[in-house]
């Protein structure tokens, strides 16, 4: 166990966990930020995606000791009021079915749109390829990302 000081959603918070604890479980179990989801634990499904210094990152493979002073943004910190263009598009396009993978989808899309604000449909499909939606809401995800990019 060791004290780790983390910058999460603009706040500095310290947590006493083993060095090898994945950020995912720090967020979920220690910080009560459960919007970041566990899906596979091996970086294959994207449900646990957060931003670290703006880069979409799999929190299940990121140990707490590897983060240092970098800024972590989770779905809870994506916007102050829940009105990020992607969150708005998610509502207007009624994307979720079960909803479990969706915060990871939104976080992947948010980091991507920062890099490429005007993507083509094909570029969106490539960019979102790492995030699994078991319900198959992909058509609506694509539409929502396109909608957010236009707004």
């Amino acid at each position: 166990m060791a004290i780790h000081e983390l910058k999460i959603n603009g706040n500095r918070q310290s947590v006493d966990v083993d060095d090898d604890t994945p950020l995912l479980w720090v967020l979920r179990d220690e910080m009560n930020l459960v919007g970041t989801k566990y899906g596979c634990g091996i970086g294959q499904c994207g449900a646990c995606t957060v931003h670290i210094d703006g880069v979409a990152t799999r929190s299940c493979l990121t140990t707490v000791s590897s983060i240092g002073d970098k800024a972590i943004t989770t779905i809870e910190g994506l916007s102050a009021d829940g009105k990020h263009p992607l969150q708005e598009a998610w509502k207007s396009c009624d994307v979720p079915q079960c909803g479990y993978c969706q915060s990871g989808q939104i976080m992947t899309a948010a980091a991507y749109l920062e890099k490429n604000p005007n993507p083509s449909s094909d570029e969106i499909r490539q960019a979102m390829h790492g995030n699994i939606c078991r319900c198959g809401s992909y058509n609506s995800i694509q539409k929502a990302v396109e909608t957010a990019a236009k707004s």
């Binding site: 899906g39 634990g41 989770t74």
Partner: protein, 716 residues
């Protein structure tokens, strides 16, 4: 079942109808001192008679409505759709409705489960009646206050108006209404007057989902809760001999190691410590007996197909003679492996078993059955068991089985603590409950250019034929017709998987008819229409589908997909099917991408009767199609020496965005009572894809996963 525009029923028959269809639905009215439901303060309701209310509705004094959705939400949308039915007949504005998940209530709800595409179908009348009953009582209360006849009153968006134009809000009369006798007669709205049913209503949880708010079982926490990760036998047919937990107990955060049955629970203060602790656990297991393998399953199923140990499910005419006299016999075998459910939210459940109560919280499709099983296992009375349902990160049939909830209860009972059992993805994929492997062999006899005989044989692990399938299309269309089944008993646990039984039967049957059409040099759509028209002329009491409705979706999909109009480089495949009371027809379009067939578009026509929520309905149909394509193309799961050979998504391909077609959905418009949508779009799409792949490449794919079993030389 036709809809009932003016359904006037006596009070006695109302309760009877409810009990038969979806259960007596209790109305619970909580009398509120404040406006917002989130800050409501229930007042003393001890002296108020509830028994004549019939829905789970709360009305605050400012007219805000809370509707409890009785059924578990797995992503099929019932948490939005079922309250719409109540709100419609209650006649309130949807914007004023708050929806909450109801808990298990065995006294006042029936059919509290998610499965079989039954949610809307079973709730259609009872929940509307519940809303209408409450509306009548509210109107009566207002009429009493005004001293007028209730017949002079009308409602709109939660406001009651009398002949003089005076108005009272529901919230103003709710206390008086709750004391009234329930009406002896109620009327349901004419579908033409629907204001909510048929509107595009967004998912009631979308705001919380988009902001990552806690909703799911894995998100649930309670003070003092510990986490348990369980080691189970790695192979089917094994038992636990002994284990060494000395290293596990050195892992920081590990609190306890508990053996139960042939399993070992590592209890930790958080998820990670329990997961880590399990990795350090050393266990000895017995030899798997029998130790099954995919190779063995294949041999056993082929032996069954080749043998004569069948049970005949339906026999018309004499297929033997038809085949003997045929000009040509077409025979093809279709194969599907085991498939795991792979819900994105791994199995998990919370249990707090104390001396006097059992508290259960989590994602479960069968809250009632699971609560009863746990009560029985623990020797408790059901009255001491509480079951709260969380939103589920997918179900697909896996969460019909409460084994993981039982584990949570067992561990909590032994640990004397509130416990959350959490499956790792590896646990989730390897612990059991799979869509069983199945093979179909279908043969047709052709004489003078017509189909004279049809013989379907099924060989499945742990039996896989639903009793109605023998009466599906093409039963009644072909004079000599036979359906036979044979089963291989396996120690691998098998389970319902989205559209159980039909999910691969449709692929086999609808691929086969494409092949028959090719052999006869006929248009595949016309071949189906001719067969259905033949069935239409007969009076087969066993026939399950409605020929006119099946023809309706076929005509709609051929129109919307431009069926048969050649487009350069685009190849179409057709399939139609009826299951879960819903008629579906689909056209898949395949193009060659990087030398391989890629499904770029699917057009789908659906007849599910009234579409209660077009947004949710479209999501279900799209999802079913994409799910069906994903598993047909990539689904692969096997066993060696009793052990699953795949345990996570590095080796198990679920469909991803860039493999996904655009799905274009069209609903037949009618006023027929609604049927299910969670499953029916899935089964036929594998066939539509296989048929389109054949059109594109000349290759027939008859074995899942298609992506692996398409002949690479032909595709090169």
């Amino acid at each position: 079942m036709p809809s009932t525009p003016k359904n006037t029923i006596s009070r006695r028959s109302f309760f009877k109808t409810s009990a038969l269809a979806s259960g007596g639905i209790l109305i619970g009215i909580s009398f509120l001192n404040s406006c917002a439901p989130s800050t409501e303060v229930p007042v003393d309701i001890a002296d108020i008679t509830f028994n004549d209310f019939n829905a789970f509705i709360r009305i605050s004094n400012d007219g805000k409505i809370t509707i409890f959705s009785p059924n578990p939400e797995i992503g099929q949308g019932v948490k939005t759709t079922l309250p719409m039915l109540i709100a419609e007949e209650l006649d309130v504005a949807w914007d004023n409705v708050f929806v909450e998940q109801g808990k298990l209530d065995v006294d006042n709800f029936q059919n509290q489960f998610a499965g079989g595409s039954n949610g809307v179908r079973m709730a259609w009348l009872p929940l509307r009646e519940a809303g209408a009953t409450a509306r009548m009582m509210l109107m009566q209360a207002a009429a009493n206050r005004w001293g007028v006849e209730v017949g002079e009153c009308s409602t709109s968006e939660g406001i009651i108006t009398n002949a003089k134009g005076e108005k009272l809000g529901y919230g103003e009369v709710v206390l008086e209404a709750a004391k009234l006798e329930a009406p002896t007669e109620i009327s349901l709205k004419d579908p033409a007057d629907f204001k909510i049913i048929g509107q595009e209503i967004g998912n009631v949880d979308v705001e919380k989902i988009a902001q990552g708010k806690p909703l799911f079982g894995l998100d649930f926490k309670r003070e003092g809760m510990v986490y348990a990760v369980v080691m189970r036998p790695p192979a089917f047919g094994q038992t636990l001999v002994d284990f060494d937990d000395s290293e596990t107990r050195t892992v920081s955060g590990v609190l306890d190691v508990i053996r139960f049955e042939d399993k070992i629970a590592v209890v930790g203060k958080n998820t990670w410590s329990a997961m880590k602790g399990k990795r350090k656990l050393k266990a000895n297991w017995s030899e798997a007996s029998p130790a099954e393998s995919s190779e063995g399953h294949d041999q056993a199923l082929f032996a069954l197909l080749d043998g004569s140990q069948f049970e005949t499910m339906r026999m018309d005419g004499d297929v033997k003679t038809a085949f003997a006299e045929a000009d040509q016999v077409i025979e093809r075998t279709y194969e599907s492996p085991f498939l795991p459910h792979n819900c994105m939210e791994p199995m998990n459940f919370f249990a707090d078993v104390t001396a006097d109560k059992v508290d259960l919280v989590g994602p479960i499709q069968t809250p009632k059955g699971t609560a009863y099983e746990i009560a029985e296992a623990l020797g408790r009375d059901m009255s001491t068991v509480n079951m709260d349902m969380t939103r589920m990160g997918g179900g697909f049939g896996r969460r019909l089985y409460g084994d993981f909830a039982m584990e949570a209860a067992q561990i909590s009972n032994l640990a004397k603590k509130p416990v959350k059992v959490v499956y790792t993805r590896e646990d989730d994929m390897t612990a059991g409950m799979y869509r069983p492997a199945v093979k179909y062999r279908i043969a047709a006899s052709i004489k003078d250019g017509a189909i004279t005989g049809y013989h379907l044989k099924e060989a499945a692990v742990n039996g896989n034929m639903y009793s109605l399938i023998p009466n599906f299309f093409p039963a009644g269309s072909i004079d000599n017709y036979q359906v036979d089944v044979a089963s291989f008993d396996s120690n691998i646990t098998t389970a319902a998987w989205r559209a159980p039984y039909t999910n691969f039967h449709a692929v086999a049957e609808q691929s086969f008819f494409d092949e028959v059409a090719n052999a006869l040099n006929q248009d595949p759509v016309q071949l189906r229409l001719d067969l259905i028209n033949k069935a239409k002329g007969t009076l087969d009491p066993l026939r399950t589908y409605d020929p006119d409705r099946l023809i309706g979706v076929i005509n709609l999909v051929t129109e919307k997909s431009d069926w048969g109009k050649k487009k350069e480089g685009v190849f179409q495949g057709f399939a139609s099917y009826y299951c879960h009371n819903t008629h579906v027809a689909e056209v898949a379009e395949v193009v060659m991408r990087d030398g391989k067939p890629f499904v770029q578009k699917v057009t789908c026509a659906v007849d599910c009767g009234v579409v209660v929520n077009p947004l949710g309905a479209m999501n279900q149909v799209q999802g079913g199609i994409i799910d069906g394509i994903g598993h047909a193309m990539f689904g692969e799961f096997g066993f060696e020496n009793g052990r699953p050979t795949t345990d996570n998504f590095h080796a198990y391909n679920l469909i991803r965005m860039n493999d996904t077609p655009q799905v274009d959905v069209h609903f037949v418009k009618n006023d027929i009572a609604p049927t299910g949508l969670g499953e029916p779009s899935l089964p036929p799409v594998g066939a539509a894809v296989a048929n389109a792949i054949h059109a594109a490449t000349g290759v027939r794919v008859s074995k899942i996963p298609f992506a692996k079993n398409m002949n690479p030389e032909v595709l090169a």
